[in-house]
């Protein structure tokens, strides 16, 4: 039964990693840039949810504060794109990566200055409710996390594969100039991608704060989500979820069965191995150009 318990909790935390990874992949798919600040945006979303919901701050009901948080995070993503990313459109990936790293540092500083550095907890309606499943205990929050993640991955997958807007976003990333020539508003696509990424980060933050404590350093979780996105193959949405689940499942099992100290090495060793053996991830999106 222990294995089942580890499996379930790993699945839930894997879903959070997967959600952040979805944010990475989304921006990568739509703008060909890597947003290193995604983890910190998630942290920000978590803090905004807490700020809206907790009785110390605004004390709104949870189901009201979530849409408000999504609105705030969406406009936040839009502002980041308009103020910073729009200026460097077309520049190399590395410039954008460094820009977002710096943004992440600033977000961490701002969150620390506003909300302080002690851990915060969300007062959600799910707290303390458990479901018993073949002797394994599963919190309501964890079930909620799993369901929301699977739902969001499905929606985004359909969006990129089936809708006109999604396909034109992919086109805008694959070749900016060519996309512009066929009438795709590349700038608008990029703004739109950042809005969705902001909302996704907000949802991931909300789910994360429903599961545990949040402080400004939480954003560093982004590195693990990064590993998840790479393992899945940057650019593949289901891959991001699978990568997140792999990382999430590895953690509790290695923590249980490996000597202490080794356990949090394992996700990174897996990452290094995947990069060496399958350089573009498990669900590789790289294809050879056909002439």
């Amino acid at each position: 039964m222990e294995i089942l318990q580890l499996l379930l909790s790993g699945f839930a935390s894997g879903c959070v990693y997967g959600l952040i990874a979805l944010g990475f992949v989304l921006i990568y798919k739509a703008t060909e840039a890597v947003n290193f600040a995604q983890g910190d945006m998630m942290m920000f979303g978590a803090f905004i949810t807490i700020w809206l919901t907790n009785s110390d701050y605004n004390g709104l009901p949870f189901w009201l504060s979530v849409p408000i948080m999504m609105l705030i995070m969406g406009s936040f993503g839009y502002l980041i794109e308009r103020i910073f990313l729009r200026q460097v459109i077309g520049q190399s990936q590395i410039a954008i990566a460094i820009l977002t790293i710096a943004l992440g540092f600033i977000l961490r500083f701002v969150a620390g200055a506003i909300w302080g550095h002690e851990p915060h907890y969300l007062e959600s309606p799910m707290v303390g409710k458990n479901i018993y499943f073949y002797q394994a205990v599963l919190g309501m929050a964890e079930i909620f996390v799993i369901l929301v993640t699977i739902f969001l991955t499905f929606i985004l997958y359909v969006f990129f594969a089936r809708t006109k807007l999604g396909v034109s976003m992919v086109a805008a990333s694959q070749n900016q100039l060519a996309a512009f020539y066929v009438g795709i508003p590349v700038n608008k696509m990029q703004s739109f991608a950042w809005v969705i990424a902001g909302i996704l980060a907000g949802i991931a933050g909300m789910l994360f704060s429903a599961k545990g404590s949040v402080d400004p350093i939480t954003g560093l979780l982004g590195i693990k989500a990064f590993a998840a996105a790479v393992i899945g193959g940057f650019g593949s949405l289901p891959g991001a979820l699978v990568g997140g689940l792999i990382i999430g499942l590895i953690e509790p099992f290695s923590g249980r069965y490996l000597p202490s100290g080794f356990s949090h090495l394992v996700p990174y060793i897996v990452l290094v191995l995947v990069l060496i053996l399958r350089p573009h991830g498990l669900f590789s999106q790289v294809s050879i150009k056909k002439v």
């Binding site: 077309g90 590395i94 710096a102 560093l220 940057f234 990069l275 060496i276």
Partner: protein, 366 residues
């Protein structure tokens, strides 16, 4: 503007353009060498630290600025340099002058071990891999406790060279001269690499891998060599850093340091040795400026900066963002523009350094 009349190919690859150029650098070196006679120990220590950051920046510059591979894990190589120079001295009793190059070689060995299997990785993937390596090295240091002191850290002995003692607190001026000597040495070596065929092939690989292949550059080999040289220099920087801070543990060389190193050389200006130094000066001077402004102005206004931990990093990041938005070539790029403005006065045009507009294409289709 001085016009050089070239009668052979040598002036194109000479270290110094002309005698004035040469004199400027000799004067700079002379000025740096006599600093200990004017400055008190605190500022001398800060300048020594700036020199150490410059060495580390040069190490990263070989990789990022000149061969076009981005590493987010150079703190790991600094860590290898720092730990190995001290362990070699304590456990094996080697003298500093022998332990230092060995530390560099060990660090460069790790770099080669990473570079060989990942020769096919590009851009962002390589950055992520090195980030993972940085995290792994941090954890391995904790696990290798008998050697590295684990969480408690390790204590650096004084440097002894031919029974001359170098200690940060006892005689910072000697340590400063030692670091200055090695910085100068590394700059000369670096500059010479850049004008050799190897340095040219670095630039070729950076600017276009396909063209480099076409003119017969062995891309995989050049990238590995770039990694090796970069890690060697960074390892040396780490060795000095270890001796400078005297006590350190795994946390000294965390991921944030890796990222800061990269941000540092981007602010300084990618693709030039000057950039490494300018970036290091910013990193070294910013905390001093913050603490000075805190003492002078803000306390009077009733603003207490101690309430905002991480202010330095926040401010640093803001400067970096402004640079990426308005001056992508960093401080050195701005300096070049100002210098050209005065050299060509009044003929300077605004678009002189403008590059062709670029459009991003996906890396997923090749």
């Amino acid at each position: 503007m001085r016009i050089t009349f070239k009668t052979s190919y040598d002036p194109d690859i000479n270290l110094f353009k002309d005698s004035i150029h040469k004199f400027q650098y000799i004067f700079l070196l002379f000025f740096s060498a006599i600093l200990p006679f004017f400055l008190d120990d605190y500022y001398l220590g800060e300048i020594a630290l700036i020199l150490i950051w410059s060495i580390a920046g040069m190490g990263l510059m070989v990789l990022v600025g000149h061969s076009g591979q981005v590493s987010l894990g150079h703190a790991a190589f600094m860590a290898v340099g720092a730990y190995s120079v001290i362990i070699l001295q304590i456990k094996l009793g080697l003298p500093f002058l022998i332990a230092l190059p060995i530390a560099g070689f060990l660090s460069s060995l790790l770099g080669i071990l990473i570079a060989i299997p990942t020769a096919k990785l590009h851009g962002i993937y390589l950055a992520i891999l090195t980030l993972a390596v940085s995290i792994l090295v941090e954890d391995i240091i904790v696990l290798a406790e008998p050697l590295t002191g684990g969480v408690n850290g390790i204590f650096a002995p004084d440097i002894e060279i031919f029974s001359v003692n170098f200690n940060r607190y006892g005689n910072i001026d000697r340590l400063y001269w030692l670091i200055l000597f090695f910085t100068t040495l590394l700059v000369i070596i670096y500059k010479n690499i850049l004008r050799s065929p190897l340095g040219r092939s670095f630039a070729a690989v950076r600017d276009s891998e396909i063209s480099a292949l076409a003119i017969g550059v062995n891309v995989a080999r050049v990238r590995t060599v770039a990694f090796a040289i970069s890690c060697f220099i960074t390892g040396i920087a780490g060795a000095f850093f270890g001796h400078f801070v005297t006590v350190f543990n795994y946390e000294t060389f965390n991921v944030v340091l890796s990222i800061n190193l990269l941000l540092m050389i981007v602010i300084g200006g990618l693709g030039s040795i000057h950039g490494a130094f300018f970036g290091a000066i910013i990193v070294g001077v910013l905390p001093i400026l913050i603490s000075l402004s805190r003492d002078r102005f803000l306390d009077g206004l009733g603003i207490n900066l101690m309430n905002f931990p991480g202010l330095e990093t926040g401010l640093f990041s803001l400067i970096l963002i402004l640079f990426i938005l308005f001056e992508p070539f960093g401080i050195y790029g701005r300096w070049l523009k100002i210098r050209t403005y005065f050299q060509l006065f009044p003929l300077y045009r605004k678009d002189m350094f403008k590059r062709q507009k670029s459009y991003l294409k996906t890396e997923r289709v090749r």
